[in-house]
Amino acid sequence: MLRRCAAAGEAALVRTDGQGTRGPRGVILLGLLWACFGGVSPVAAQEEIRLEMMVALTSREPGPVDPRAGRIHQRLKDDFRYESLKVLAVERQRVPVDGVMTVALPNGKQASVRPLDVGERGALLAVDIEGAVTVDARARSGHLLVFGAGRHAGGRLVVSIQPTFP
C-alpha cells in the first residue's frame, strides 16, 4: 500500500507538472488515491454479517444443561456456580453494518447489537444489554460474546452473541 501511495504521489507530480490531470489519466490517478485510503480493502465491501443471539437462564436448581448452550457451559462452569442452564430463545439474522438486531429479554428489557464496522481484525459490534452493560467489542467470525445480564427468576440471565462472516 505504501509503495502504491508513493507511486501515486510520483504520478501526481509528473502529470500536474505537464498536462494536468484531465481525462483517463486523471481517473486513474483518482483511483490510485482512493486505493491509498483503503477503498479497495476486500473486507470493506462486506456490508452485512450473520448474528446469532441466544438468551439463556442459569439456575442453582438441579436440572439439565441445554445442548444448544453447550459451548457456553463448557467455559462458564469453570468460573460460575449453577446447576442448570436453560435456553429461552435463539434468533439468527443477517444484519447490515449500522443495522440493529434486537431481542427481548424475559425481564422486560432488551438486548441489541449494532455492527459498526467489519474489517480484517473482525466485526466491531456495539452491544447494549439494557439495564446491565454497554460494550463495544471487535470479534472475529465465530467468536462468542457472553454477557451475564443480572438476576432473573431465581437465576441469572445470559445473553450470547456470535457474529459470522466470510
Binding site: M1, L2, C5, C36, F37, G38, S41, R71, I72, Q74, R75, L76, D78, D79, F80, R81, L116, D117, G119, E120, R121, L124, A126, A132, V133, T134, V135, D136, A137, R138, A139, R140, G142, H143, L144, L145, V146, F147, G148, A149, G150, R151
Partner: protein
C-alpha cells in the same frame, strides 16, 4: 468516553490497525490536536490493559468459582483503598487500581496517568509517520465497557474464542 458513535468507530479502526496508511496518518494528526480523542484513546488503552491483567490473573483462572477468588483478595483491596485515600491524588494510583476499574469500583481510575503516556506515544509515532498498527499489537476484544458503576468481570479466552462480560453481585 463521550465521543459520537462514528468518531468512536474511527478511533477503534485506528486502534485496531484497520485504517490505511494515509487514513491512520490523518487520524494521528487529528489526535495531536484533539484532547478528547487522546483521552478516549487513553481510556481504550487502559481498558485493554485492565482486561488483560484480569484475564491473566491466575487466582481468578484457577479458582473453581471466580467470585471466591475475588472475595479472597478483597481485604488486600480494602487496605490499598484505605491507603490510597490518604495519599495525595497523584500518588493514589496503583496497579491494583487498574483492575478495580474493570470491576467497577469508583474513584481509583488511572486514566489520567495513562492519558499522558499514550499521548506521548501517539505524538511520537505521528511525528515519524509510523502507521497505527504499532499501537494495536495484542489488542483484546473489548473496546469499551459501561456497566453504570456495577461490578463486572471480563474474561477473554482466546483459546476458546470466547469473551465473557459478567455482572457480579456487590457485597
Amino acid at each position: 468516553m463521550s465521543l459520537p458513535e462514528r468518531e468512536r468507530a474511527r478511533l477503534y479502526r485506528y486502534y485496531d490497525g484497520e485504517m490505511s496508511w494515509l487514513g491512520a496518518s490523518w487520524f494521528a494528526l487529528r489526535l495531536r490536536r484533539s484532547t478528547s480523542l487522546r483521552a478516549a484513546l487513553a481510556e481504550l488503552e487502559q481498558l485493554t490493559r485492565s482486561v488483560k491483567r484480569v484475564a491473566a490473573d491466575e487466582t481468578a483462572a484457577e479458582a473453581p468459582e471466580l467470585w471466591r477468588g475475588i472475595e479472597a483478595s478483597l481485604p488486600e483491596v480494602d487496605a490499598e483503598w484505605a491507603t490510597a485515600r490518604e495519599r495525595p491524588p497523584e500518588r493514589a494510583r496503583s496497579p491494583r487500581a487498574d483492575r478495580l476499574r474493570v470491576f467497577g469500583w469508583p474513584g481509583l481510575s488511572a486514566a489520567s496517568a495513562a492519558a499522558v503516556l499514550v499521548a506521548v506515544l501517539v505524538l511520537r509515532f505521528a511525528g515519524e509517520g509510523t502507521p497505527a498498527p504499532a499501537l494495536s499489537q495484542g489488542a483484546g476484544v473489548v473496546r469499551y465497557l459501561d456497566s453504570g458503576g456495577a461490578p463486572v468481570v471480563v474474561i477473554e479466552d482466546d483459546e476458546r474464542a470466547m469473551t465473557i462480560v459478567w455482572m457480579v453481585d456487590p457485597l
